[in-house]
């Protein structure tokens, strides 16, 4: 038996030697990608996990109002408010006032119940002098404490792990018994915006494809010198700052802008009744299509470049018309480029933010503008995280659809 085994020069079995050498190669490869892996992990994966965890984790109330949190968790959310709940509330309010954390508690509850900010702050100022029975003292201080909805809001706010923000992100809310219900109709906005975001992204993708396909085709079939010139023309805007391009569109499209002036000169519009081309959805669509165009052209071009002209020639030699040769022979071969370009444009567009912010007006805003609003203005980072989570789910969903329909292996970025 042992005589049949192949041995390496140093006498070890060849199989083991091979495994060793393969392992060493793998280790070396891993060593090479290690810095990149570390970067992605520390600058991408970990922050995203942290951010997303904020969409279901909020310990502001629980950490600052510990006694009340415990008592509230035992309350069923519908039976009358007990003295025990009131006593814990007063005890926590006194501490929160002393520690100067009352503002943070108040603003947290205010997200669930408008008016809680002033109620908590004014009650905390007086809480030190309260005497039992505390429930009566609270209700005497402000009759909002008699409102069971106030206490229900506190119960919702006291949950450390909550689906409340994710629910808000899809225009629902969590009630005090833990069930979901529809958000107040006048405050519903996110579903509309998600739908609009997908709609805008879809239109931009189709527009980019229609505009980009002929350009890429031309570039792939022209002599190199001319093609390179075209390529530079495509890349030039790509190298220009995004802000510059967006503001250039403002100058072009505004009602006193270049386009409208031209329309007036050619009699397509009157001076008093100019077209609204910007600060609305039209503006967002035009500017975003322009900005996304290179992302469509480049993958298309790189795929078309590899399609041999011999196929189309062969088709024509066998009697195909120009159209048949293109549609039946050339086009199918360019599908990997279409897939890659469309997916790239769609996924970039779905999270687009600065262009709609500048030219979108009121009906050209996308979901990322609301995320920005909650990050920078309302400071509700939890809701911003929840909206980001929903957006991420959307992107993954479209990725999955794409994989099912076109197949991810068919994608070519060049």
């Amino acid at each position: 038996m042992s005589d049949n085994r192949l041995l390496a020069a140093d006498g070890t079995p060849l199989k083991r030697k091979l495994a060793q050498s393969l392992f060493r190669t793998k280790l070396r490869t891993f060593g090479l990608v290690c810095p990149l892996l570390a970067l992605i992990l520390s600058a991408f994966v970990i922050p995203i996990v942290f951010m997303l965890s904020a969409s279901v984790y909020d310990d502001r109330y629980a950490s600052l109002m510990p006694k009340s949190t415990i008592v509230m968790s035992e309350w069923d959310g519908t039976s009358p408010v007990t003295e025990e709940m009131a006593a814990a509330m007063v005890a926590d309010l006194v501490v929160a006032k002393k520690e100067k954390t009352i503002g943070r508690v108040a603003n947290r509850v205010n997200r669930e119940f408008s008016g809680a900010t002033s109620l908590f702050k004014s009650t905390a100022r007086a809480a030190k002098k309260f005497e039992p029975p505390y429930l009566e003292a609270l209700e005497q201080k402000d009759k909002k404490w008699q409102n069971i909805e106030m206490w229900q809001a506190i119960k919702v706010a006291s949950k450390t792990y909550t689906l409340g923000y994710v629910a808000n992100a899809v225009d629902m809310r969590v009630n005090s018994t833990g069930g979901f219900e529809a958000q107040d109709e006048l405050r519903q906005i996110h579903v509309t915006l998600f739908i609009r975001t997908i709609e805008i992204s879809f239109i931009v993708t189709v527009a980019c494809l229609l505009l980009g396909y002929p350009v890429a085709y031309l570039m792939a079939n022209l002599p190199n010198r001319t093609a390179n010139l075209l390529l530079i023309l495509v890349l030039m805007p790509f190298w220009t700052s995004l802000l510059v391009r967006t503001t250039a569109w403002i100058a072009m499209l505004q009602s006193q802008g270049v386009m409208n002036d031209l329309f007036v000169v050619f009699g397509l519009a009157t001076d008093d009744d100019r077209f609204s081309l910007i600060y609305n959805k039209t503006g967002t669509l035009i500017a975003m299509t322009h900005i996304m165009l290179p992302f469509m052209i480049m993958p298309l071009f790189s795929v078309m470049k590899t399609i041999s002209p011999a196929y189309v020639r062969a088709a024509k030699s066998m009697g195909a018309t120009n159209w048949t040769a293109f549609w039946r022979v050339y086009f199918p071969q360019s599908i990997p480029g279409i897939g890659a370009g469309s997916l790239l444009v769609f996924i970039l567009a779905i999270g687009y933010y600065i262009t709609p912010a500048l030219v979108g007006g009121q009906d050209g805003q996308m979901i990322s503008n609301i995320i920005d609003f909650h990050m920078r203005r309302s400071l509700n980072w939890n809701l911003a995280a929840a909206l980001g989570l929903v957006l991420l789910v959307f992107v993954l969903f479209f990725f999955w659809i794409y994989d099912r329909v076109v197949g991810i292996d068919n994608m070519k970025l060049g």
Partner: protein, 362 residues
């Protein structure tokens, strides 16, 4: 290159970096709203303070809100030393533990000896903030394009009598109040009406009547630009920005003071600011009687100290342009003024913002 030479160069480089960082540690970063307003502060506060203390002031612009302060404080890397914020944000920053406390005892007394706390108008000195100006949201139009211009807040909402686009700040603040005032609510009753659901509905219904004609702005420098470009026929704006366009750029803009919403701007020091002592010194210096009066000669925002009023003179380069009548608090302008109720906004901003955003998007 010899080893010694390399060493010298390296140490020189290290030294220059060290010197540079030492120099930057001695400057103070003051953040404000940019444009004409920041210029007034540079001229009235920053330059004299640098002359007095020898410390440079680095001026940065922002668009309001306390998100950047929150981000800096939570990241433990506070690069701003003093920030100019609206009253509601000053209160919120203090509530959220994002601002250093300021002891009012360090503020200088008025020239006649009145203690600082009595000299400042109500609400201008809080636990964490010291007020510098009274500003207001007004609306303005281009008088060269409208000979018989609007007079009242109701005219702003009347697109039949005064056709053309309207500029408004993309925020429910001030807009809801103006809408109710235009709908006939008396200035004193605005927040009582807004405190009822029906009142909020009424305000939004009034905004609905002009929704299709509104261009929304976000930065204070935008409205004068919108007016100058002819993008809007009239726009709400901060009064100082319109004044500046008139006084410095000779624009034919006219301010309508009816139902102006006035508010305070205050200095706060972000929690953990690197130059806290310098920042405190700057805040005390810039809010003394003379400095506040000086600032008022650069832009038409009123000083927050009573003792400054008598010292307010004329526009810095136009001796015949008296600043007094340009102020939001001038009697002729103040008749129907509404004070921004920061407590109401603290309670209702989450809900109003959501409702406003939803209203805008639909």
């Amino acid at each position: 290159m010899t080893m010694k030479k390399t060493l010298t160069m390296v140490s020189a480089a290290v030294l220059s970096v060290a010197v540079a960082s030492a120099a930057s540690a001695e400057s103070l970063t003051v953040v404000s709203w940019g444009g004409a307003y920041t210029k007034s502060q540079v001229e009235a506060y920053h330059k004299p303070w640098t002359a007095k203390t020898g410390t440079n002031v680095v001026s940065e612009d922002y668009n309001g809100g306390i998100a950047e302060i929150k981000a800096q404080v939570e990241a433990g890397n506070v690069t701003w030393d003093v920030v100019d914020v609206e009253l509601s944000d000053a209160i919120r920053a203090c509530d959220e533990g994002l601002a250093e406390e300021i002891d009012p005892a360090m503020l200088p007394a008025a020239p006649d000896g009145t203690p600082a706390l009595e000299d400042f108008i109500d609400g201008a000195v809080t636990d964490c903030a010291v007020g510098s100006i009274v500003w207001s949201t007004i609306y303005a139009y281009d008088s060269s394009k409208m000979s018989n211009g609007p007079k009242t807040i109701a005219d702003f909402f009347d697109v039949d009598a005064f056709p053309g686009k309207r500029g408004m700040r993309k925020s429910p603040k001030a807009n809801l109040e103006m809408a109710l005032a235009a709908d006939g609510v008396a200035p004193g009753d605005i927040y009582d009406v807004l405190s009822t659901p029906a009142g909020v509905d009424r305000a939004f219904a009034k905004l609905d009547t002009i929704k299709d004609d509104v261009v929304w702005w976000e930065a204070g420098a935008q409205p004068p630009q919108l007016l100058a470009d002819g993008e809007v026929a009239m726009t709400t704006a901060y009064n100082g920005r319109i004044f500046n366009a008139v006084a410095s750029e000779d624009k034919p803009f006219e301010i309508v003071w009816d139902a102006q919403i006035y508010d305070l701007d205050l200095w706060i020091i972000p929690k953990g600011a690197k130059n806290k002592q310098l920042a405190l010194d700057f805040v005390a210096f810039s809010t003394d009687t003379q400095r506040l009066a000086d600032q008022a000669s650069w832009i038409s925002y009123g000083p927050t100290r009573k003792s400054s009023s008598s010292l307010v003179g004329s526009f810095h380069n136009k001796p015949d342009l008296a600043m007094g009548p340009q102020m939001p608090t001038a009697p002729a302008n103040f008749k129907t003024a509404i004070q921004n109720n920061f407590e109401w906004w603290a309670d209702n901003q989450d809900e109003m913002n959501e409702r406003f955003n939803a209203w805008l998007a639909n």
